[in-house]
Amino acid sequence: MSRLTLICALALALSSPAAAQDLAISAGQLVVDAEKGSVKGGVLLIRGGKVVSAGANVKLPAGTKLLKRPGAWIVPGFVDARAHLGLERDIDERSQAFANDIDLADRVVPGHKDFAKHRAAGITTALISPGDQSLLAGAAVPVKTTGALLGTQRVAKLSLTSSASMNGRPPTSQGGRLALLRATLKKAHATKGGGPLEAFARGDVPGLVSVSNFTSLEALQRLAPRFGLRLIYDLQASVSPRTVKGVDLKGVFLAIGPGRVEFGQAARQVPAVLNKAGAKVLFTSRAPYGPASGMRLRAIQAAKDGLSGAAALAGLTSIPAQALGLEGRVGALTPGADGDFVVFSGPPLDLRSRVLEVYVAGRRVYRADGEE
């Protein structure tokens, strides 16, 4: 009982409206949008939880106290496009190929201890997603790592890997999975209302699709323009530069997990290769099955092995926000966006840099020397 009270109190504390007063903070370097570089000595002004202005020449209203973080870097809060945090027990309903009634919003435990780990890693937004055990495993839900939902926004979670076939029901083959998906999408595309499947089939919401090879990716790419599908591929394939050769990846969102399982030893440069092929590479944590910090570590490794620093940082912030349809709200500190940011002790892609503070909607939710 006392635990429940504590959770309620915490949830209440975290979800209470942001203070009406302004927050102004300056840093050694301010990254407004990862793809546009950083501003030396930039100032960020937040009012009512939203960014008012950010940059070198920000006029502060009279009487505003400026918090100073000299030598530190302020970057947009990280966006994790695939995580399983805040859930208890199993994450998948396996009995049906299309679990269209499953909405993970019903299952998120707001005060779950996983959220604190995510905040400590500098992640402010995460997509809480079901697993890969069904062709459609349900609706994934984007949340702030305070535990608050981002409105009614949902993302369909699909899987074309063999895991989707291992539950004693047809289809059993890749061809079977794609044929069933094609027929189901055709029917769902013409349906009004409905669940995540129909919304995905009409192109209203993005779909996060787990793929274990580029063949199924290409098959879905051929299908996408017919229905106007919005796709994010969660890449679980073993990739080498040869595998990628000739695949049309222009503008394709490719999510890369934290583990080393997806890549052969000689293929650390794969994020760079995918980026060069035109893909928009984003990094995910898959927490709690991987460490929350794994997302940033993978981006650092990719930047070491050929990915540009801007693309690596964008893969943690603005690219996942675009992929999830949350651009303008999270992933960049542009005016009107949520005031979600991280204060790093140094450049975010330097392994030595620590997360000093994390803010969500202008409120501090993490401090390195003690949880807020």
């Binding site: 050694g28 370097q29 793809e35 546009k36 570089g37 950083s38 030396k40 000299p70 030598g71 870097w73 004693g168 029901r169 047809p170 289809p171 059993t172 083959s173 890749q174 061809g175 079977g176 794609l178 044929a179 094609r182 027929a183 055709k186 090879n213 580029f214 063949t215 199924s216 290409e218 098959a219 051929r222 040869r242 595998t243 050769k245 000739g246 695949v247 980026n275 060069k276 035109g278 930047a303 540009s308 620093g309 801007a310 693309a311 140094g346 450049p347 330097d350």
Partner: protein, 434 residues
């Protein structure tokens, strides 16, 4: 600290410049795409033309034939490349290239809505191997594990636009594969979708008959039934795998019931039934021909090595396939074997070029070097069906995708490079040895 930060800023901004160029566009295609080849020309079902040639423009055949007639069609300034022998690119009518592992759907015995292309890795090395052997187009067929199988696809082995037919003919199977190759066969356990139901040829025939009957009757057809209706309406072909005499007869019988014209595959015992096959207006994809001593099914099947020659005599439309056999049994090897056992060489070339194109419904696009066709051809070092010839270059859509057209010639006049070694062994006076 501040100086360190500014260094990092510089690094980040440099990276930003890098990000800007990483989306650089591909170089624009070259404007001059004319290619002129002169050499001995082998066309399907024709006598070879000793002094022939081909003019290729924009990836298509502009003209082909005897050089005397062709010379005035050659654009001014175009370079004429002399080559030993030219033939159309070979076409493999039955292959599983690019597919990996067990890809047959086990969820049902009737899966015509499935597409093989969903499981084809176009970057698989199998395509490179086929290309090196002169094969330019492949029909990838469904795994024969279902009685009514999925939709095959036709792809080129290289080039830019590789998919010719994304989802074409469906496969059928009355061979033993369809009733013996299930997963987890549990004769005493409860039937699941993993347990294959037909255990006999009779059972497989029934599954086929029922599927087409239900498709005909259905008021609101399922996706699978819609495909079967296309087949019955003649909009989509049916390639039927039937090896033994009884299987071939059953295949012809049920297809006539369904009102479908079929193409027979792997029909090793078709020589018994040539009259009936001709009467049913069926075509045959024959092969792979195996040397009798190597035949894996010796004793069960009774194949004849002269079946291609008999097929040619009977007038049944047929083509040859190697079905992914490598080495001496590749597609060209099949044509050579057929010639060894009585088929005319020009007809044998037809059986691996124009005939498979016709069976796949692509007779107006590939399979021959005619005006307007895709410029898919092979340059050989000698007659294409000679064991001493090899492919020198393969051209797809007017571009050289394997080998080279201009062969280095050993020049007669040039001296060997002088040996600069001051104490070469060869410079010593020869000593007599006993």
């Amino acid at each position: 600290m501040a100086s360190k930060s500014s260094i990092h800023l510089a690094a980040l901004s440099l990276c930003l410049v890098g990000a800007g160029v990483s989306f650089a566009q591909e170089p624009a295609p070259k404007k001059d795409t004319t290619l002129v080849l002169r050499g001995k020309l082998y066309q399907p079902a024709q006598e070879p033309i000793p002094d022939g040639g081909v003019v290729i423009k924009d990836g298509k055949i502009f003209a082909a034939g005897a050089w005397a007639r062709l010379a005035r069609l050659v654009p001014k300034g175009a370079k004429v490349i002399r080559v030993p022998a030219i033939s159309p690119g070979l076409i493999e009518a039955s292959s599983s290239a690019g597919t990996r592992g067990v890809y047959a759907e086990q969820g049902s015995e009737v899966v015509p809505e499935l597409r093989v292309i969903d499981n084809v890795n176009l970057r698989d090395r199998a395509f490179d191997r086929l290309l090196e052997r002169g094969v330019t187009t492949v029909h990838i067929e469904p795994d024969p594990a279902s009685v009514v199988g999925s939709q095959g696809c036709v792809v080129k082995t290289a080039g830019k636009a590789r998919i010719l037919i994304e989802a074409g003919v469906i496969g059928g199977c009355l061979g033993s594969d369809a009733w013996t190759r299930g997963w987890n066969r549990r004769p005493f356990g409860a039937p699941t979708h993993m347990t294959r139901r037909p255990n006999t040829l009779m059972g497989a025939v029934w599954v086929f008959r029922e599927a087409f009957f239900l498709a005909k009757q259905a008021k609101s057809p399922t996706p699978a039934q819609a495909v079967l209706r296309d087949v019955m309406a003649g909009k989509r072909g049916l390639h039927f795998l039937a090896r033994r005499r009884g299987e071939i007869e059953a295949a012809l019988r049920v297809s006539r019931e369904a009102g479908v014209r079929i193409v027979l595959k792997e029909a090793q015992e078709v020589h018994h039934l040539l009259d009936i096959v001709a009467e049913h207006k069926a075509s045959v994809i024959f092969g792979p021909l195996e040397d009798l001593s190597r035949s894996r099914r010796r004793g069960v099947l009774q194949p004849r090595l002269d079946t291609p020659a008999l097929l040619a005599l009977s007038g049944v439309p047929f083509c040859l396939t190697a079905s992914d056999e490598q080495g001496q049994d590749d597609l060209r090897g099949q044509a050579m074997l057929a010639v060894r056992y009585g088929l005319e060489p020009s007809v044998a070339l037809d059986a691996v070029t124009a005939a498979p194109a016709a069976i796949l419904g692509l007779e107006k696009r590939i399979g021959s070097l005619s005006k307007g066709f895709d410029a898919d051809l092979v340059v050989w070092s000698g007659p294409p069906l000679s064991a001493t010839s090899k492919p020198l270059a393969v051209v797809i859509d007017g571009r050289v995708v394997s080998g080279t057209l201009i062969q280095p010639k050993p020049s007669k006049g040039s001296k060997p490079a002088p040996n600069k070694n001051k104490n070469p062994r060869g410079s010593k006076k020869p000593t007599q040895r006993f």
